[in-house]
């Protein structure tokens, strides 16, 4: 049952082979057994999950079931869920129970899915290893001495360890794709604006995008069908016709043009990752695709641009965490300024403070033009590179991350080394394009490698088709870590 696809689970639920309560309990038992070591979940609430499962069983009995009805889904702890503690991985919100549902949560609720729990993450989604979480590091199920990636590391570990049927993540600079790659699962960051950000705690508003994380492209399509859609509560949500993201899954790939950016296969890419990615490209050629060499000349500027813009937005987005209305407040203070300073000094972790300071600096009088405005200009150039590239190809492929999962603590002292693990993913966020990662083999130490697929705007259905056809031809995505 724990290796079943969402489609198979849905069929089992409808045919009463298993009830949602039984399925939910099965996962709750697995979480109870494995989570103490993996630490993939921050909060589980069996009472609430089982209550939802009973509701789902009623829907199934009444014949009102939708494709995800009764299926236990884990939610990244960045989504506000009514009645659930919602921490965003931070001490600042360690005691915050949300009084309302994020759009993504209510979409799953309407679909009759079961909220299985809130998954661990880097604090305020700032990190690439899950080591910045106030609730402790998450262990990579493939090697518990290694990181799961971040910031959606808890979700990636939970999916890989079969602690949920599927889950959600968010991606600001690679936070869905990089942990998906490092944990050997599939993850999709949709085009900016496809999934409403309402109720998703903001890190960098112009880059943040929610997306599904699961064990296959087929599952991703089903999840995205529920998550996507216009929401008037998010002004950046796009008003488009509802589409079925699974509609093209079975299309053959003959004639597909794959662009390979030379910048993604240059210095800094480790050999084991390069080999796995090249093997995947070879597989695609067998499936009828052709390869085009392309260039994304400005992509080398992605990291500096990102580390100006994302902290700038974050420094402002995180101002609301001031200890006045909710969240952490320092136990002792002398006056208002002291309350702010102590609450924020004690409530935020080091990486969050670092980014708030960078962001505050680049927005300051006298520096704004040189940093923020300049970064915005380069952001447009980076997006323009992709426009040119997509004149020559249908999808772009390359590695998701330059290395496989690194050891816990290995990059903890060197933020720049940590930032470099998102070197291939960040440009996609800056351009607002959809990107995904699918498992494509194993590297040194038998750790998973992810293949990144970047599509043109709103081509999620095509990307899922491209991924699904590969997953029909290979079995990397079905491999599972031992000891789970």
């Amino acid at each position: 049952m724990i290796n079943a696809t969402l489609k198979q689970l849905s069929a089992a639920l409808r045919s009463k082979k298993i009830s949602s309560v039984e399925l939910t309990q099965l996962y709750l038992d697995r979480i109870a057994a494995l989570n103490p070591e993996l630490n993939a979940y921050i909060t589980v609430n069996p009472d609430m999950s089982l209550a939802q499962a009973r509701g789902a069983d009623a829907m199934l009995a009444n014949g009102n079931a939708q494709p995800l009805t009764g299926i236990p889904i884990a939610q990244k702890d960045i989504f506000c869920a009514k009645g659930w503690r919602t921490t965003c991985g931070s001490k600042m919100l360690h005691n915050f129970t949300s009084p309302y549902d994020a759009h993504v949560i209510s979409q799953f609720n309407h679909a009759g899915a079961v909220n299985l729990g809130k998954t661990n993450m880097d604090e305020f989604a700032m990190g690439s290893s899950n080591e910045t979480s106030y609730f402790g590091t998450v262990k990579n199920p493939w090697d518990r001495a290694r990181v799961p990636g971040g910031s959606s590391g808890g979700t990636a570990a939970a999916v890989a360890a079969r602690l949920c049927a599927a889950a959600t993540g968010t991606d600001t600079g690679g936070s869905i794709r990089q942990p998906a790659a490092l944990c050997g699962i599939s993850g999709l960051k949709p085009t900016y604006g496809v999934v409403s950000r309402y109720g998703m705690i903001a890190f960098a508003s112009s880059l943040d995008q929610a997306g599904p994380m699961a064990r296959s492209a087929e599952d991703l399509a089903l999840l995205l069908n529920t998550m996507a859609g216009f929401d008037e509560r998010d002004s950046t949500s796009l008003q488009r016709d509802q589409e079925d993201y699974a509609r093209d899954l079975s299309k053959p790939l003959a004639g597909l043009r794959i662009g390979l950016p030379k910048e993604f296969f240059a210095e800094g890419l480790s050999n084991d990752v390069a080999q796995a990615v090249e093997a995947a490209i070879a597989e695609y050629k067998k499936l009828g695709a052709s390869v085009v060499d392309i260039s994304l000349p400005n992509s080398r500027l992605s990291i500096p641009v990102y580390y100006v813009l994302a902290p700038a937005e974050a420094s402002s987005n995180l101002s609301r965490f001031d200890g006045v209305r909710y969240g952490y407040r320092a136990p002792e203070y002398t006056d208002l300024a002291d309350m702010y300073e102590k609450s924020r000094a004690q409530g935020f972790g080091t990486e969050v403070k670092r980014r708030i300071m960078i962001g505050t600096y680049v927005l300051s009088h006298g520096y704004y033009d040189a940093y923020y405005l300049q970064a915005q200009k380069i952001r447009r150039l980076i997006a323009q590179d992709f426009v040119e590239a997509f004149k020559q190809c249908d999808v772009i492929m390359g590695p998701t991350s330059p290395t496989t999962a690194f050891k816990l603590g290995e990059k903890g002292d060197d933020p720049v080394q940590m930032y470099l693990s998102d070197i291939y993913t960040i440009a996609v966020n800056l351009a607002g394009l959809p990107g995904m990662s699918i498992p494509c083999g194993f590297g040194a130490n038998n750790m998973p490698v992810g293949l990144q697929v970047i599509g043109n705007y709103f081509t999620e259905a095509q990307m899922l088709n491209v991924a699904h056809q590969y997953q029909l031809a290979t079995d990397w995505h079905t491999r599972q870590p031992s000891g789970i």
């Binding site: 009084p99 960098a204 937005e313 101002s319 208002l336 009088h365």
Partner: protein, 512 residues
């Protein structure tokens, strides 16, 4: 040493939308603390702003009314600072790309002292931008604790910024009053200054005529025209004294204390915030099409007819009123039509309304009788949209009856008062009376003038006979005694003698 005063204003007008600028929470004033603070108002994690179209429409109306350029694309920016009543830690405002660009407002200045004549002046408007209001800190309700009320947080404001074009407190007050009339006129702001719907920040500096601009100090949050004038007067004198004593003015934000009549510094430039403005990534640029502007313009014409300056032009050129009278008649959008109805009904046979005596009389009546009644009634009936005890044509009827000699002014005033009282009794749900009621009152109370020359002559004869000493005095050249006779005749006729006839008869008989 001669000093020139330089003043510019920033006025925060609260826009009259039902819901907040970025959420659906109510904007009604006076609710229990925090009952109008929804998830967006208290800035829960994850919430997002959605722009209220009604706020944009009101900004467009203002732009149209002051002949300003309306930006086809404007941008919301975040103004970052920490304060407990600012829940997000930033205010959403507009910075380098505001929705309304340069415009102008013509003001009528009535100098506050001396015999100087009223004059007109054009004040340039630099810009007007949309932003959200903050909440309120509530001090002193419980000891040692400051409360926060976020009902007001997110209320839409249009901040209207003028050029430093004003040269006296009188000009600043005239500008603020004209703006106050305009925003109520076009229905974008209720103008309630006690409730903070119209708040003025006044930038004041002084210089020698022709010199560079002096350093300014900004008087924050003035919520009455009287305080504005007092604050400017005090501040100007303080700045002049400081400079003449060899001191320097430091740029500062200051507050006016109405109890002491003095200004004091709130913060100096050194503690000025670096607001770290940047475009709000949660909101798309605001795009306004020419078509939308045209639609708003059409709506506005439909709702309020002409704008104040258009009315002034019409009332002065067509009806021959003075600018001051015309300004008095535009206290609210419906008053000019009261005037026009009154003028038409006051016409005598064959008379045209253009530049007529009827127009002048109607204007005087509305200014001296109708508006004071309206002002008093408005305080007692704040819920009534337009307080009108008597319709314009009924006023005109009264005026015509005076003009044709049926009643005199005293009687007309009495009837007018009576009609207002009757309207009050029904809480202004209808007018106090019609033509028929006027005619009935005249009959019932015997207010018709005595125009029977025989009757007047009889009274005059009796009075002359009874007062030989005063008659002798008059005949010896003391014209002043004439008034004495008029009074006696009026008294004897119980006030109903037609004054013109009385004068004529009295003169004739005294001369004999």
């Amino acid at each position: 040493m001669q000093w020139e005063i330089v003043i510019g204003l920033e006025v925060h007008t609260q826009l009259s939308t039902n819901s907040k600028i970025f959420s659906g929470a109510s904007t009604a004033f006076g609710a229990e603390s925090n009952t109008q603070a929804d998830a967006v108002s208290i800035a829960l994690p994850g919430v997002l702003p959605v722009l209220n179209k009604g706020a944009v429409e009101r900004a467009i109306k203002f732009g149209v009314a002051v002949g300003a350029h309306i930006a086809p694309r404007s941008v919301f920016a975040r103004k970052n600072y920490f304060y407990p009543d600012l829940p997000k830690g930033y205010q959403i405002s507009q910075f380098d790309l505001p929705v309304v660009g340069q415009g102008a407002l013509t003001i009528q200045v009535e100098p506050l002292s001396g015999n100087a004549q009223p004059y007109e002046k054009v004040v340039r408007i630099t810009r007007a931008h949309l932003e959200e209001d903050a909440g309120k800190s509530v001090h002193g309700e419980s000891q040692g604790v400051t409360g926060i009320d976020l009902n007001r947080a997110g209320t839409p404001l249009l901040e209207i910024v003028s050029e430093p074009d004003m040269r006296s407190a009188a000009e600043a007050v005239a500008y603020a009053k004209t703006l106050h009339t305009l925003v109520r006129w076009i229905g974008i702001c209720d103008g309630n200054m006690q409730e903070g719907s119209f708040r003025c920040d006044v930038n004041v500096s002084v210089r020698h005529p022709g010199a560079e601009l002096g350093t300014r100090r900004e008087i924050k949050n003035l919520n009455s025209f009287k305080f504005m004038q007092q604050a400017i007067d005090y501040e100007v004198q303080w700045q002049i004294d400081t400079l003449e004593n060899g001191g320097k003015i430091q740029q500062a934000t200051i507050l006016f204390d109405p109890d002491t009549g003095k200004t004091h510094a709130m913060r100096s430039k050194e503690d000025a915030h670096d607001y770290r403005y940047f475009p709000d990534p949660d909101l798309l640029p605001l795009e306004i099409s020419q078509q939308w502007i045209e639609e708003v313009k059409e709506d506005m014409v439909h709702q309020v007819g002409q704008l104040p300056h258009e009315w002034i032009e019409e009332l002065t050129s067509r009806y021959g009123l003075s600018t001051i009278d015309a300004r008095s008649l535009i206290n609210e959008p419906r008053t000019p039509s009261v005037f026009i109805s009154a003028t038409r009904a006051a016409l005598l046979n064959g008379e045209s309304e253009n530049q007529s005596q009827a127009a002048k009389l109607a204007a005087n009546w509305i200014i001296n009788e109708f508006l004071p009644q309206q002002l008093a009634a408005r305080e007692d009936f704040p819920e009534v949209e337009f307080v009108e005890g008597v319709a314009g044509d009924t006023i005109g009827h009264l005026i015509r009856l005076m003009r044709d000699g049926t009643i005199n002014a005293k009687a007309a005033k009495e009837i007018h008062r009576e009609l207002w009282d009757r309207a009050r009794e029904v809480k202004f749900t209808r007018h106090g009376g019609t033509y028929a009621d006027v005619d009935q009152l005249i009959d019932e109370r015997g207010l018709k003038q005595v125009s029977d020359t025989g009757a007047i002559e009889k009274i005059v004869d009796e009075i002359i006979a009874a007062n030989p000493a005063q008659v002798a005095e008059y005949r010896s050249g003391k014209d002043k005694v004439f008034g004495f006779f008029v009074g006696l005749v009026m008294k004897a006729s119980k006030g109903k003698a037609n004054p013109a006839q009385l004068n004529e008869i009295l003169k004739r008989k005294l001369a004999a």
